[in-house]
């Protein structure tokens, strides 16, 4: 009997709690109209950086891919040739793709990178209508050459690239309409799906 009464009392307590909250002031911020200042080291969208001379920092070593707990990064390396030199060493990333839908923004790729090529920027608004467009390839990850020339990325405040507008502007120029087929991982997903359906 005592437990029965106890059950009733605790049930009533639960109902009272939720009822109390019903009238309390809500702490929610009206996000799109009011934007909160994020922390200086906020982990947002990735960016691949360049050296001051415009060469890509990424050497395609795949250490970020192996460090990634969500298995979101795909890197396929290739060799620099004298005619087409992308990065200082022998190797560069022919393909560098991040599935931002898988990414958990933990920043381990940043930690793993031996050349500080991949960094997480504070950008976080990247919603889109197609899954395929969340697979960011080098065309959207890599800082445009003009942004990298002159300033070493290390000298930017907080180590975060100051100018994100160029990346933003680039997004609209990149053909993401083709969605999956624009990226290697997307192609794989597509063939996988084909395999499942067939």
């Amino acid at each position: 009997m005592r437990t029965f009464i106890g059950a009733i009392v605790s049930l009533a307590q639960g109902f009272y709690t939720t009822f109390q909250f019903f009238f309390q002031k809500k702490p929610t911020i009206a996000y799109p109209s009011i934007k909160k200042q994020h922390a200086p080291r906020f982990h947002g969208l990735h960016e691949l950086r360049r050296y001051a001379d415009g060469k890509e920092r990424c050497i395609g070593c795949e250490l970020c891919a192996i460090a990634c707990p969500a298995n979101a990064i795909t890197v396929i390396g290739a060799e620099n040739t004298p005619e087409d030199r992308r990065s200082p060493g022998e190797r560069y990333a022919a393909r560098y793709e991040i599935d931002e839908l898988r990414c958990i923004f933990c920043g381990l790729c940043e930690e793993a990178c031996p050349t500080d090529a991949i960094v997480l920027t504070p950008r976080f608004e990247m919603s889109d209508y197609r899954r395929g467009s969340f697979i960011y390839a080098k065309d959207r990850l890599l800082v445009p050459p003009e942004a990298g020339v002159g300033t070493s990325p290390d000298e930017r405040p907080n180590g975060i690239p100051s100018d994100l507008g160029s990346v933003l502007a680039q997004k609209s120029t990149v053909d993401i309409a083709s969605g999956y087929s624009a990226t290697w991982r997307g192609e794989l997903l597509k063939t996988d799906r084909k395999g499942l359906a067939g």
Partner: protein, 758 residues
């Protein structure tokens, strides 16, 4: 040496163990599962004592000893770890890393590198080097397959010793001394070897890398699966490393001592790019009014079955024929015979190339038998070009056991090795072979008359001796095809007869399974092509649009060996297992699936998978012993050589090349320079007489026509008065010509072609 070897008892890390006298410490430690780090030492190459990473502490010796070159002694007490040992190893590693670049993130070895691993285990974290590191050349093009990074080299000399001890080719050396030593070829020419890929595996650091794999992937990305290489009939176990549905590299299997001993030839290692080639066929194609039309699988199989039924109904089962099987698994070969015999068709043959026989008869030997032979007789094409791994055993027997090497015929050996040469097997009688107890005979399986002469001779010797015979032909699973009964029985036609019947218009339907007779069948490409075009309905299962497939009515996209499972027999008749290592492209089916679909469309019962696998392995001991059904080995008639053309006295030799062929090699872009040029090889003397030089372009005029634009190669080991051309090149088809006829060189041009592959 007689009697049991003496046993020695010693203590390693407190564990007492007894090993035979003469065992090296590093091997003894393996018995108690203690791993002593090594760089220069390799079980197959022996000790060198160069790198000194294997330092161990042996009690009662003043200094640390190297485990790889110290033999065990009675009562020895060894410590493989401890402060003293670790100090020593740390010092050694500091020296090794002195000039070694810290570019692990871009190094292809990173992740499977011994230097990396031992540096983590024993090395000291920071470098004490104050001066800049030694700058050495990087990315040196060592040859068609290998790129060398001298900065990473720790001069363990595994590669040079492999080249010296195992392949006997002796082209790699350590050039210069001290701080400036680098790996190079002795002559300064490119490093060319059919076993070159092995040095990349032997290299304990990332100094030697494969051109096909450079910067493609990292080791942890790869999905590895173990299967059997069926590029030739050697049957080596092979590890297939796949990523994103693409075979990126293949690796040898260290434990495969029964066959490959842990080596791979370059064809097996590098000819894997074709799996992901965009030219792969992925849909059944039907030729309708000269155009290729895509077809669904069901329609294709139905059409085939209907045509077969109609042909049987209207012209009887003798109007059907099936070719091929020598490149398929045993299961598939068995099903070809099963399905077509169910229709009453006996025109079944696997012999779609020059090879006419696969079984060595009752005296077939094993790989181990080769090593023990005191005399080795090579009849016809040497095994190096057909079954390279077998040739490594022969080289081992010659170099390490002093076996006598005798070459029969005009073919050249790829390496400089002391040998004698006679023209025909019957001439062997003059060589006093009866003083040997163990003799191995190798035959290429091409000319049946040579084969019977060889058999006769071997039978004559057999009394009281161990005779091992091998047929090292060029067809990968020829023994499987023979064992599964893919030869005409009771009045059926063989492949030559089938083509004759086709020319006469007596064939209504021809099925060609994974074969390319247009390129490989003797009798001339034009005549084979004409015969095939004369058959109203030709079905070909192929990976690519080969010359044969181009002339078929229906082409079915098949799967390659790494894309299916099954069994094969190797050259010694042992069973090897195939397992899928990479996903096949959508739209392809394995020949087994194609045959099962055909059987069900025809209404023929097929054995279930379990029964099929039993069938495929059941014949194994039977084939291994060589006691085949004699009827199985009935020979088809070869045309007699015709009288020669205007002779300038050169005898034509048609040699096989490891990288010839119009299918997988032709469609593998990664192979690049490895694909042979169309060459005419001459001995130095002949070249001098004919006044041609290395790299000239010539035409060869023979009775059947002219072969144009061959590159002259002046090479050692060729018989004077012969010109050797390569078989199976789509650009210069040698199948139109008969070996042994006299030909003339014409239209010599002094156009120098860059030095490439010999």
């Amino acid at each position: 040496m007689n009697g049991a070897p003496k046993e020695v008892t010693l203590t390693i890390d407190g564990t007492q163990l007894t090993v035979p006298e003469g065992t090296l410490l590093v091997e003894a430690a393996k018995r108690i599962k203690t791993d002593i780090p090594v760089y220069c030492y390799h079980p197959k190459l022996g000790p060198a004592g160069l790198c000194r990473i294997c330092l161990v502490d042996v009690e009662k010796t003043p200094k640390l000893q190297i485990a790889c070159n110290t033999t065990v002694g009675e009562g020895m007490v060894v410590h493989t770890y401890g402060p003293k040992v670790e100090d020593g190893r740390r010092a050694v590693l500091e020296f090794l890393l002195l000039n070694h670049p810290l570019d692990c993130p871009i190094c292809d070895k990173g992740g499977e590198c011994d230097l990396q691993d031992y540096s983590i285990a024993y090395g000291q974290g920071a470098s004490r080097l104050a001066d800049p590191k030694e700058i050495k050349p990087k990315a040196i093009d060592l040859g068609p397959t290998i790129v060398l990074d001298d900065e990473r080299c720790i001069v363990c000399q595994r590669c040079t010793r492999f080249d010296e001890i195992i392949t006997l080719e002796q082209s790699l050396v350590v050039k210069d001394r001290g701080q400036r030593d680098v790996i190079a070829t002795a002559t300064g020419t490119p490093y060319v070897s059919m076993f070159s890929g092995n040095v990349t595996e032997l290299c304990p650091v990332g100094a030697l890398t494969s051109k096909t794999y450079r910067f493609k992937s990292r080791p942890w990305d790869l999905n590895r699966s173990l299967t059997t290489c069926v590029q030739c009939s050697a049957g080596c176990a092979i590890n297939v490393d796949e990523r994103h549905g693409e075979v990126l590299r293949t690796m040898s299997v260290p434990g495969d001592d029964a066959v490959s001993e842990g080596w791979l030839c370059d064809r097996g290692r590098y000819n894997v790019g074709f799996y992901s080639d965009p030219r792969r066929l992925t849909s059944p194609l039907l030729r309708r009014d000269g155009e290729w039309v895509q077809l669904g699988w069901e329609d294709a199989i139905d059409l085939w079955a209907r045509t077969l039924h109609e042909a049987v109904d209207s012209a009887g089962p003798k109007s059907l024929a099936a070719l091929g099987g020598g490149r398929l698994t045993n299961e598939e070969a068995y099903l070809i015979g099963h399905v077509f015999r169910a229709l009453g068709c006996e025109n079944i043959d696997w012999r779609t190339g020059r090879q006419r026989q696969a079984s060595p008869g009752p005296r077939g030997g094993t790989y181990a038998d080769v090593e023990s032979a005191q005399a080795i007789v090579l009849v016809g094409v040497p095994p190096a070009q057909t079954t390279p791994i077998m040739s490594l055993r022969i080289r081992k027997a010659v170099s390490q056991r002093g076996a006598r090497m005798i070459l029969v015929g005009d073919y050249a050996l790829p390496i400089r090795v002391a040998h004698e040469r006679v023209a025909r097997p019957r001439d062997l009688a003059s060589l006093d072979l009866d003083r040997y107890e163990r003799i191995a005979f190798f035959w290429d399986g091409i000319d049946p008359r040579v084969g019977s002469e060889l058999n006769e001779f071997a039978e004559g010797l057999a009394e009281g001796r161990k005779i091992f015979t091998y047929v090292t032909g060029e067809t990968p699973n020829a023994r499987g095809a023979e064992g599964m009964g893919l030869v005409p029985r009771s009045g059926g036609r063989d492949s030559v007869g089938m083509l004759a019947a086709a020319r006469d218009g007596n064939l209504r339907s021809l099925a060609i399974f994974a074969a390319n007779p247009v390129l490989h069948m003797p009798g001339g490409a034009d005549s084979v092509r004409g015969a095939i075009e004369n058959v109203p309905f030709v079905v070909t299962t192929e990976l690519f649009m080969t010359p044969t497939a181009e002339r078929s009515t229906l082409v079915l996209p098949a799967r390659g060996p790494f894309e299916k499972s099954g069994h094969t027999f190797d050259v010694t008749g042992a069973v090897r297992v195939l397992r899928p290592g990479v996903a096949a492209p959508t739209g392809t089916l394995s020949d087994l699936e194609i045959l099962i679909a055909l059987a069900s469309a025809l209404g023929v019962d097929v054995p279930g998978p379990a029964a099929l696998h039993r069938q495929a392995a059941l014949h194994a001991p039977w084939v291994a012993r060589g006691f085949g059904d004699p009827a199985l080995f009935a020979e088809g008639e070869l045309k007699a050589p015709r009288a020669g053309a205007k002779a300038t006295g050169l005898r034509l030799v048609i040699a096989a090349d490891l990288f010839s062929g119009g299918g997988t090699v032709y469609h593998d872009d990664r192979l690049g320079e490895l694909r042979p040029l169309a060459t005419a090889a001459l001995s130095e003397h002949t070249a001098a007489v004919a006044e041609v030089h290395d790299g000239y372009l010539v035409d060869i005029v023979a009775a059947e026509g002219t072969l144009r634009g061959l590159v002259v190669r002046v090479a050692p080991n060729h018989v004077d008065g012969t010109v050797t051309i390569l078989e199976g090149l789509p650009d210069a088809p040698a199948s139109a010509f008969e070996g042994g006829q006299t030909v003339a060189l014409a239209n010599v041009r002094a156009a120098r072609v860059p030095v490439g592959v010999a």
